[in-house]
Amino acid sequence: MKFEKKRASTKQNIPTASLPDIVFMLLLFFMVVTTLREIDVFVQYKLPEAESLEKIENKRLVSYIWVGRDGRIQLNDSIVQIDEIQTIMYRKRVELPQVIVSLRIDKGSEMGIVTDIQQQLRKADARRINYSAYIKE
């Protein structure tokens, strides 16, 4: 008796015609999600961890202040001295009254510098702040 191989007569191809579409969809997702970082961060910092976090919903309202491990302060895109913060932030606050200042301060910093920044922000009347932190596992 002769054994015949059972084989479907149809072609055994995975249809790849829709592959580009799928990839484009992924691509679109990432394009929408991506915020290209327009600020170069010059200072090194490590954020503290905390549990009671809230998200900043509207990224357009945010100004950033970094405080590095070495105590240098960066406001948005340049390194500044502490007493310059008031003028810069005041100008910003006139443009954008609801500005939120996100403080990204190295966790090894001292409170002195934090308080000085806060005083500057109070004088500039940019009073909504957010201590940036990672979520604690």
């Binding site: 915020t35 809230e54 966790k107 090894g108 001292e110 009073r127 932190a133």
Partner: protein, 176 residues
């Protein structure tokens, strides 16, 4: 006679097999360029800046004074406490003031030295916030039978009015 040959109709097609590759390249670029930014943190609103501060007398039992010194010791109302215990210590005190009017509710004051570590301050602030969050959850559960985060705007406002959160961040003392 020369026969004019008509060229056969060629199939005019743009090869689309490499389309996927191109799309993948783009995809890879965006994958690499994406920074999923942490924009989460502890939000507070600083008080207004005034030149002359007026001192308002505040009764002792309204205040919960947290002091963190430069060595990382934490005092809650003059008693030494470990940072993870702050939450438990504050919850009953917040709850005892729930029925009071807004201007009689608990004030949590956090005071640091200039040399205090920032991380400790955040941990302490976090504990205070957690204590308030827990009380809010409890209150909204009693009032509406659901967690604070599941309430709608109006209910949330009610809960917030009841558990009025006052955190005062005292300025560090000048170095003597």
């Amino acid at each position: 006679m020369v026969k004019i040959k008509k060229g056969g109709i060629r199939e005019a097609e743009i090869p689309s097999s490499s389309m996927a590759d191109i799309a993948f390249l783009l995809l890879l670029f965006f994958l690499v360029a994406t920074v999923i930014d942490v924009d989460s943190g502890i939000g507070i609103v600083l008080p207004e800046f005034t030149e002359d501060q007026e001192l308002v007398p505040i009764s002792k039992d309204r205040m919960a004074a947290l002091l963190i010194n430069e060595n990382g010791d934490v005092l809650l109302d003059k008693e030494v406490i470990a940072i993870p215990q702050i939450k438990e210590a504050l919850i009953p005190r917040i709850e005892s003031k729930l029925e009071q009017p807004k201007n009689k509710k608990l004030i949590v004051s956090i005071k640091t030295d200039r040399k205090t570590n920032y991380n400790l301050y955040i941990q302490a602030l976090d504990q205070v916030r957690l204590a308030y969050a827990e009380v809010k959850d409890k209150v909204s559960f009693e009032m509406y039978g659901k967690k604070y985060l599941d309430t709608n705007d109006e209910e949330r406002k009610e809960v917030r009015e009841k558990v009025w959160e006052i955190i005062s961040i005292a300025e560090p003392e000048k170095v003597k």
